[in-house]
């Protein structure tokens, strides 16, 4: 049987292609190595307490003693507040957020708060109304305090009237009589 030249050429190309496929599929040395690691996300958790206050069941809120019947010039007791890192990762307190409820704008406007870090010094000493302007965020001047796992951060908080050391100047205004204000200070923590 005689084949034309064209047919022979096609047949030769076809064999060559099959040969290449065969080389690729069967001539590969192979091996494998595998590494694996278990990654567990730590949890960030802090608690707040005060020897002169009561802590909520979840440990997230402490209510300090009430200051009642305060005169025009007063300085409340220095309250000690402890933030404890009970999580698994270091916690950094970046600052505090001030807010309040009140029935007397004059009292609110003349109430001062001082926050002091027991190790690093003063965080703020200003009118609450001033601190609440804008976002109400009070940053820690040195960028934040990092609490190691199971560690603590202690701050001292003191509420006072403005000009509480000068009986002739400052102090609460006359219209602040009979008012109340409930300030809330929230510690903002990142992990």
């Amino acid at each position: 049987m005689a084949y034309s030249r064209k047919v022979l050429t096609v047949g030769a190309l076809g064999v060559a292609a099959l040969a290449l496929i065969g080389t690729g599929a069967g001539a590969t040395f192979h091996d494998s190595a595998k590494a694996q690691q278990t990654i567990t996300a730590g949890n960030l958790s802090v608690l707040i307490t005060s020897p002169s206050g009561s802590t909520s069941p979840d440990g997230k809120t402490v209510t300090l003693n009430t200051l009642t019947n305060e005169p025009s010039h007063f300085s409340g007791p220095q309250e000690t507040i402890t933030v404890t890192n009970n999580g698994a990762v270091p916690a950094t307190v970046t600052g505090f957020t001030a807010a309040d409820t009140t029935n007397n704008a004059y009292l609110q406007g003349a109430l001062n708060i001082q926050i002091v870090d027991s190790n690093r010094g003063e965080i703020c000493n200003d009118l609450i109304s001033t601190l609440e302007k804008g976002t109400g965020f009070i940053p820690i001047p040195w960028g934040g305090t990092t609490i190691a796992t199971n560690g603590t951060m202690t701050v001292y908080v003191t509420f006072s009237s403005t000009g509480n050391t000068d009986v002739n100047n400052g102090g609460l205004p006359q219209a602040a009589q009979g008012g109340w204000v409930t300030p809330t200070l929230t510690a903002n923590v990142t992990g």
Partner: protein, 198 residues
């Protein structure tokens, strides 16, 4: 210009990758704890003989006085009706005529004696106009903690407490009585008490 399909795919992957990086950087853990307290203020209040306000009448019948009139005596019960102690309290006395105007002859011929009956202490005994001009000496506390509100009385007034004062007005010269020039004249004497909680 047409864009090759492979180039478009590559660009898309690059953008998606940047997006993931951004999400990872912002997803820090956060937590919050808070503290709160309640602060309330007290108040101060004064009453005089059971009345409050700034325009109380003493109820003294002192009209048509003769030159040797019977000393005018009035008890003043000052009470702290507020919830705060008064750290200092003051008495300001004014009398028309002390400035030399109408009634000057009468005002300048009168003497005032102020006694803290509760503490059995004489606070002032002298010319009416001297008391009005610069209350000082005797039972007044000097220097006063606050100025511009009269003389500082010697005793503090706790919340709910009272001090009984007695005011006696008579001619300075009890023997000679009022001068002739004081005839048909009058003076209005005002007593204003002020309290401070600091």
């Amino acid at each position: 210009m047409s864009v090759h399909p492979k180039l478009m795919i590559g660009a898309g992957i690059a953008i998606a990758g940047l997006g993931l990086i951004g999400a990872g950087a912002g997803a820090t853990y956060t937590a919050q704890v808070s503290t709160n307290t309640s602060i309330s203020t007290g108040g101060i209040g004064l009453s005089l003989n059971g009345q409050t306000g700034s325009a109380l009448r003493l109820g003294v019948d002192a009209k048509n006085l003769g030159p040797h009139f019977t000393p005018i005596s009035k008890d003043l019960l000052l009470k702290n009706t507020g919830t705060l102690d008064l750290a200092s309290d003051y008495l300001s006395v004014t009398a028309t005529g002390c400035d030399g105007g109408t009634g000057a002859a009468l005002a300048k011929a009168l003497q005032v004696r102020l006694t803290d009956v509760t503490h059995n202490m004489q606070v002032y005994d002298g010319a009416l106009c001297s008391l009005a001009d610069s209350p000082s000496g005797q039972g007044f506390t000097t220097p006063p903690v606050h100025t511009g509100v009269g003389g500082q009385l010697p005793h503090q007034l706790g919340a709910g407490a009272s001090i009984l004062y007695q005011v006696v007005i008579q001619p300075s010269d009890t023997a000679a009585g009022l001068p002739t020039t004081a005839q048909n004249s009058s003076t209005t004497v005002s007593f204003a008490f002020t309290g401070f909680d600091s």
